[in-house]
Symmetry: C2
Subunit: 126 residues, 2 copies
Amino acid sequence: MKKELPRIADSEWRVMQVLWEHGPQTANDVVKALSDKVKWRPRTIKTLISRLVQKGAVKVTEKGYRYQYSSAVDESACIQSETKSFVRRVYQETMTPALAAFLEDADLSAQEIDELQEILDKKKGG
Amino acid sequence: MKKELPRIADSEWRVMQVLWEHGPQTANDVVKALSDKVKWRPRTIKTLISRLVQKGAVKVTEKGYRYQYSSAVDESACIQSETKSFVRRVYQETMTPALAAFLEDADLSAQEIDELQEILDKKKGG
DNA sequence: GGTAATATATTACACTTGTAGTCATCTGTC
DNA sequence: GACAGATGACTACAAGTGTAATATATTACC
């Protein structure tokens, strides 16, 4: 019973990432965590949180008279779904040449190369 | 003198891909090319083309009394810029997990896998 | 040269997003 | 228990998107 993932907008990703990284927290905690990364007013962040709650991406629990927010959707599921739709949109059929260009272009350590090769090996092996 | 790339919206990508794939063409050609891929009315596609022209992503030349449209921005530059902003948003700078996810997600033939592996081999050896 | 067909331009409209402001409420403090 | 300060709810508003419809201009054909 996989639940529909809500669409998470660009700015909302920043909030989700905070919630995924640290557990349940208050709006203020999120504001604090983001304060050195983005230049948004606290209100803006509150709005983003509310929208995420509406979308069902974040859940609220009352803790005393303050709310605590925590993510309601799985991080890797979101990343995967987002990646899939991105790949489909931008790369479409021509995935391989693009991937090739990317690999050529990327600045990878030997270890990272190994990791990627392992993925490919596994794919080939089936 | 690199020109600013306009932001291309999701649906607009479909149009750009047609223009990149086949050279200059009329609005109707684009409509025809897309007709089996999407369920948009021709008007909708015309609108998308107009917006792309406004944004400077597509240029118009008069051919007789019909317009011909062709892309005004480089495909790989767009792909690269789109990918960069995607990676920044979802993966936060770290390219390797993104690449890994791409590779996992991609539907690759054995031969394509070989090609990619060769690239990685060369990179490592280099 | 008038008319149907076709192409392009203008307009529409609701939803999402970025970026907040203002109003109402709860709570701890004196 | 009244009030200041913190917190959350409701409201705002323009730009961008998805998805077109209607109106106007151009042209090929008879």
